[in-house]
């Protein structure tokens, strides 16, 4: 099915040029990297990669990287006064319970990391496709779940505020490298496979 802009394989020449550039840069680096680079280049050239071009890294819309169906979003933002303390207490209360995120159904993982002596929040997530189209839905259906978390940050406009997209984009830092083990599967795909897997095992149990 035509769901992706097909990625044109790079020309040999373009790859060779990139390789030459990397070699040049690594020449001045530590020995351990230099040796390793040559092995890697051999592997890349031998085409031992098992990945289809369609799952190479691409853009996840406005900012961020994407592998197949899975995108990454990471932002680092100063805490509002008292924000770190609030958020830490909240996360400890939640203790990993994010049932509203379960409902979203497109978030693979999500982490909250406190940086620089609790002055900044690092938020990173892996999610399906693009969040842009859904941000209005989040605001309509789970606004509290988001506001309670991100109101800890300086200048959080509130999820209902149309400027929230700009706020996120402002602090977002796109990954230079992004790897996903199963780039062809969304959270829902996996949910479905789990159901099928369970049914298949029950079926096999019965006919064994």
């Amino acid at each position: 099915m035509t769901t992706q802009t097909p990625t044109r394989p790079e020309s040999d020449q373009a790859v060779e040029k990139k390789i030459a550039r990397v070699r040049e840069l690594y020449a001045t680096g530590p020995e351990v990297g230099k040796t390793a680079l040559e092995t890697l280049i051999r592997e890349l050239k031998s085409g031992s990669s098992r990945r289809e071009p369609a799952t190479r890294m691409s853009s996840a819309g406005r900012v961020g990287s994407r592998q197949g169906k899975v995108s990454e979003l990471l932002f680092i933002v100063p805490f509002a006064p008292g924000g770190a303390e609030r958020l830490r207490a909240l996360l400890e209360l939640r203790n990993g319970d994010f049932s509203d995120t379960d409902r979203v159904g497109t978030v693979h993982d999500m982490r909250f990391v406190f940086l620089d002596n609790d002055t900044k929040l690092l938020f990173a997530t892996a999610y399906d496709g693009e969040w842009d189209p859904y941000i209005g839905d989040f605001a309509a259906t789970i606004p509290d779940g988001l506001d309670v978390l991100f109101s800890a940050c300086e200048g959080w406009p509130g999820i209902r505020n149309p400027e929230v997209k700009d706020w996120i984009a402002k602090y977002q830092i796109p990954a230079v490298g992004w790897y996903v083990a199963h780039p062809d599967l969304t959270v829902r795909d996996i949910q479905r496979l789990k159901r099928i897997g369970k049914a298949a095992e029950e079926f096999l149990d019965k006919i064994q």
Binding site: M1, T2, T3, T5, K69, D100, R103, V104, G105, T106, D128, G129, P133, Y134, G136, D137, F138, A139, A140, T141, I142, R160, T186, R188, D189, Q191, R192
Partner: protein, 466 residues
């Protein structure tokens, strides 16, 4: 200076005011006449003052929603502008800049988001779609050909002596027998009801939708009232239109059904499963096993249903066209706010019908032109197109697309839930191809006057946000 910041009061929810139907174009709120014929005309404006002159002349004939089909009117004229068109008319820069990004970019530039790949790619569209030559779109509806010609004459006279106004596209349309679309299905059945636009035609299971979703100047489902584009005079009672012209490959549709089915009855069933309705318009959810023409023809009943009793899709497949583009209550356990993704559909058909029973393509162009109308292109048309029509993730169907209007390439699949074993059709081709499309702004009548009265080199301060 223009500013997009406005008083906070306007963005707060308020009691829905009565719609100013006399200022809103009829095309936005009213279904097309019945029977109908008509024509789309696209103009290119080479000179702003001539453009405004054209607009001043045509303005008295633009149909408002309150007397849209007054007996005195010959036909019904609607008008809308692309971003290029607004520029060509001399709309001030600050005002232009205040339009939403998707409108400023235009539909062709949004191809990646809309999944307009392959045969549907803008590169393959008919001229002038997707080029900067589309400025003004006129839609003319009439009950008969004679009336149509008279309205066309009005339109012609609005610019025949203005050398910088060029007609770059004309396209006639008309009703097919029994009010069916080229595939043979009754259409135009499932528009949401706009709160305050008059009594709903039917008793409805579905709630009315706040008018701000479809017309600017009123609170929308989020309780907000649009604050762009500026100034208020320009946006009030205006809206946006996504125009999509489709070619429909009726022979391919029939051949595919023939190949998948072992009887004419089964062909009909598979076709209904793809659409979600039988040919008469009767919804599968209400009559899952056979068509029911009386139900299909009853406007009080044919749109009065929900999916609560069909949670497994055994009556109407999850992937059926009408369940995708309007999931009603089907996604209520998800985080999706279905009420944010409605738009109004005004569809017209073109071309001659492929005679019954013919399975070979006759080479003729036939299909439909759809005006998809709403105040928020991004979360309405674009959302539905990218998330619901050309993807299957929202219904846990992987990459499965809409069987009818999805961008399938011969490898498409369509899943029909069934007990004990689901049926999955394989190898779906594209039954429709996009021939072109545009994003247009369809202003209210006073806003049209505001545009028409713009002065050359108008001072920006004069249009400061109000």
């Amino acid at each position: 200076m223009l500013s997009i910041k406005e008083s906070a009061g306007e963005t707060l929810s308020m009691r829905a005011p009565a719609l100013e139907t006399s200022d809103i174009q009829a095309t936005v709120l009213r279904p097309r006449p019945k029977p109908y014929c008509g024509e789309y005309v696209v103009l290119r404006i080479g000179n702003a003052e001539q453009g405004r002159e054209m607009l001043r002349r045509v303005l008295p004939h633009i149909a408002p929603a309150d007397e849209w089909w007054a007996p005195s009117a010959l036909g019904w004229l609607g008008i809308a502008f692309t971003f290029e068109g607004l520029k060509a008319l001399g709309v001030p820069q600050a005002s232009l800049d205040s339009f939403p990004i998707e409108f400023r970019q235009g539909m062709a530039a949004r191809a990646a988001i809309l999944h307009d790949f392959g045969a549907n790619a803008p590169a393959n569209w008919e001229y002038p779609f997707g080029t900067p030559d589309v400025h003004v779109a006129l839609a003319i509806y009439a009950k008969g050909n004679q009336d149509l010609q008279e309205v066309l004459e009005i339109a012609r006279k609005s610019h025949h002596d203005l050398p910088q106004i060029a007609v770059v596209y004309r396209m006639a349309f008309g009703e097919l027998p029994e009010g069916r679309n080229p595939f043979g299905f009754k259409d135009g059945l499932h528009n949401p009801h706009v709160e305050g636009s008059g009594p709903a035609a039917t008793t409805r299971e579905e709630p009315s939708i706040k008018p701000g979703e479809f017309v600017m100047g009123y609170p929308d489902e989020r309780g907000e009232t649009a604050n762009v584009p500026i100034p208020l005079e320009l946006r009030r009672n205006g809206t946006f239109v996504a125009i999509r012209k489709f070619y429909m490959d009726v022979a391919a549709f029939r051949k595919y059904l023939r190949a998948q089915a072992s009887s004419p009855e089964e062909e009909e069933l598979l076709a209904a499963k793809m659409v979600g309705r039988w040919r008469s318009g009767a919804p599968l959810v209400l009559t899952p096993d056979h068509d029911d023409p009386s139900l299909g023809g009853d406007a009080n009943r044919n749109n009065n249903f929900r999916y609560a009793d069909d949670k497994k899709g055994l009556k109407c497949p999850f992937s059926a066209h009408i369940r995708r583009v309007n999931p009603r209550d089907a996604l209520k356990d998800d985080v999706v706010a279905t009420n944010l993704h409605h738009f109004l559909r005004r569809g017209t058909n073109y071309g001659s019908p492929l005679p019954d029973g013919v399975l070979e393509d006759d080479g003729a162009e036939r299909g439909g032109v759809f005006l998809l109308i709403g105040a928020h292109l991004q979360r309405q048309f674009e959302f539905v197109q990218s998330q619901w029509v050309t993807d299957g993730n929202f219904i846990s169907h992987g990459t499965e697309q809409d069987p009818l209007i999805g961008n399938n390439d011969g490898e498409g699949v369509f899943t029909i839930p069934k007990v004990p074993v689901r049926r999955r059709l394989q190898g779906l081709p594209s039954f429709v191809s996009v021939r072109g499309g545009e994003y247009c702004f369809m202003p209210g009548l006073r806003a049209l006057r505001w545009i028409a009265d713009l002065k050359p080199m108008m001072e920006a301060d004069d249009v400061r946000s109000r």
